[in-house]
């Protein structure tokens, strides 16, 4: 399933004094089974964009085509079908949780979409394990959970639908670094092994660059560029100009090349490549 945006505008409260153009002239393609990151500052239109991906919002003008469904204009039935195929995890999990127990929360979607509940229940333990939750949470109220746990429940409630597309809005914000790493691994696994399209919305360039094969940079509701992580690193001045920070490793490399005159021609800034470059420079310096 491919997602195609063509000249998409989205305007909040059009023709009122509060009219606000959130998206303007967006045209791009998200290839099926790709891992795409949408990056941009807060207020750049990321959240508005992602709500177009499953028809929660529909373009004011232009079209969004998701597989065979075209928006605007889809009828209720294909729209519902679309929402099963495109799972959306919101930025604030507490906005999407509402049931009395975690178990009810997780079964709500499958029930609503008429899935085989026996099968879904049999699959529950696996999904919980995937998102790093213990089965003991099933009987608890989602609102007694910690922020990190709520986030995982919200994610599980979408994973359990086995959607083809996962749209994740800042899915790791507020998680500890180890939990964050685990979830990013899970997203990569779902993408690489299960063939799911993953759309990651984030302002964390570190996560975006390390995981996505395509990056969509949004600025003020417009597409700044559609590019690969490698290309984007080369254009990092542009990145900073629109308020995004390159990963710490890249800033490290920039600083050491400027300050120490380190010769840098590695493709990737890792702990090893950076350390080796530093050691080489220090050895050369001693001989000078």
């Amino acid at each position: 399933m491919e997602i195609v945006f063509k000249d998409v505008d989205y305007i909040y409260q059009p023709n009122t004094p509060l009219e606000h153009v959130a998206l303007q002239g967006l045209s791009f393609t998200i290839p099926s089974q790709s891992f795409t990151a949408i990056v941009g500052r807060t207020g750049s239109g990321k959240s508005t964009l992602l709500q177009q991906l499953n028809g929660l919002l529909q373009p004011t003008s232009g079209t969004v085509t998701i597989g065979k469904t075209r928006l605007p204009g889809a009828k209720a039935k294909p729209l519902k079908e679309l929402r099963r195929r495109v799972g959306l995890v919101f930025q604030y999990p507490e906005h999407q949780l509402f049931e009395e127990t975690v178990k009810q929360e997780l079964l709500f979607g499958p029930k609503n979409f008429g899935l085989d509940l026996g099968q879904v229940e049999a699959w529950l333990p696996q999904v919980l394990q995937d998102v790093g939750l213990d089965e003991s949470v099933l009987e608890r109220s989602p609102f007694t959970l910690s922020g990190g746990q709520m986030k995982r429940v919200a994610l599980a409630s979408v994973l359990i639908l086995d959607s083809e597309v996962l749209v994740l809005d800042e899915p790791t914000a507020g998680l500890d670094p180890v939990g964050k790493k685990q979830l990013l691994q899970l997203f990569r696994y779902l993408n690489e092994e299960k063939g799911k399209m993953v759309v990651l919305v984030t302002h964390n360039m570190e996560d975006a660059m390390a995981n996505a094969d395509q990056l969509l940079v949004l600025n003020n509701g417009c597409i700044e560029s559609v590019t690969s992580p490698k290309r984007l690193i080369e254009k990092r001045d542009q990145l900073e100009a629109i308020g995004l920070a390159p990963p710490e490793s890249i800033k490290f490399v920039d600083y050491m090349t400027q300050t120490l005159g380190v010769n840098w021609n590695e493709h990737e800034a890792t702990v090893d490549t950076v350390s080796q470059a530093l050691i080489k420079r220090i050895k050369a310096g001693a001989n000078k």
Binding site: R41, T42, Q91, E94, G147, G174, D176, F252, L260, V271
Partner: protein, 275 residues
């Protein structure tokens, strides 16, 4: 001054403790970072400081007053809290109304109130947005308004519970430099719950919680010295810490654990390359 003596906490009807036998003293004017994995008790600890949670056993004292159901309202005037999601904190229809809310509750006289609102919005550089609707601001702006509401109360202590985790780099920098300024100029005590060790490194002191107990309490540098041990408590050593370890393994001598990449690079320059 905040003192915790043998403090334990568990939620009603739950068997296990979220926090167990915590003993801590936080002096006026300190900047303390609190780190630890999800569920280690960080947020609960923060909530115990202003009575949003009350200790199941043990004593919490703020300026020598024991925190109880009765004293908590009085104590909240001294301790302001800012949370992860600023939206949960908004009550007013305009930015100014929102900042006024806490003051109204304190029955601050109108004139003082107006002065304080203007002053605190000025401090967070949001004066231009005084009559805007809070919900239409950007994340960083919202969080600055939340801070202004807290500042208007003129608290001695500000507790930030992952207050920057939803902000983009610029928003984060804005909030952090504001906190630094308040800390330096007004001597406000800062208690900052975070997952980001780079952020925690700004503190004078870092407390690391693990499964409801204090795993580490000391200077940020000493915490980073723990290197890979940090994984045990759900933390990831920053990039600079990993590079530093690699360099020392290759027998480079560097005088101290770096907190920031600039520090490490400058140090290498001074030690090895400066002529």
């Amino acid at each position: 001054m905040i003192e915790l003596e043998q403090v334990s906490f568990r939620y009603q009807n739950e068997a296990s403790h979220v926090l167990e036998n915590i003993n801590l003293t936080i002096e006026q004017g300190e900047w303390v970072g609190i780190v630890g994995r999800n569920g280690s008790g960080k947020s609960t600890l923060a909530k115990l400081l202003n009575g949003l949670c009350l200790a199941t056993s043990g004593v919490v004292r703020v300026n020598h007053t024991v925190l109880t159901d009765e004293s908590k309202f009085q104590i909240r005037n001294h301790i302001g809290m800012v949370f992860q999601n600023p939206e949960n904190q908004f009550v007013g229809t305009t930015v100014a109304d929102d900042v006024a809310f806490g003051l109204e509750n304190l029955a601050v006289p109108r004139e003082t109130m107006i002065k304080r609102i203007d002053q605190s919005l000025e401090q967070v550089d949001m004066t231009a947005y005084k009559n805007h609707e809070p919900s239409r601001l950007s994340g960083g702006q919202k969080q600055r308004v939340a801070l202004a509401s807290v500042l208007a109360m003129q608290p001695e202590v500000i507790v930030l519970d992952e207050a920057t985790s939803m902000l983009d780099p610029i928003g984060t920098d804005q909030v952090l430099s504001l906190i630094q300024e308040l800390h330096e100029k007004l001597g406000v005590t800062v208690i900052m719950v975070t997952h980001d060790l780079n952020e925690a490194a700004l503190a004078d002191r870092v407390i690391t919680l693990d499964a409801g107990t204090v795993w580490f309490d000391g200077k940020p540098r000493e915490l980073l010295e723990k290197g890979d041990q940090l994984h045990e408590v759900g933390l990831e050593p920053p990039f600079v810490t990993k590079v530093y370890q690699q360099l020392t393994r290759q027998s480079l001598n560097i005088t101290q654990e770096p907190l920031h990449y600039e520090e490490l690079v400058d140090e290498l320059w001074r030690l090895y390359l400066k002529t």
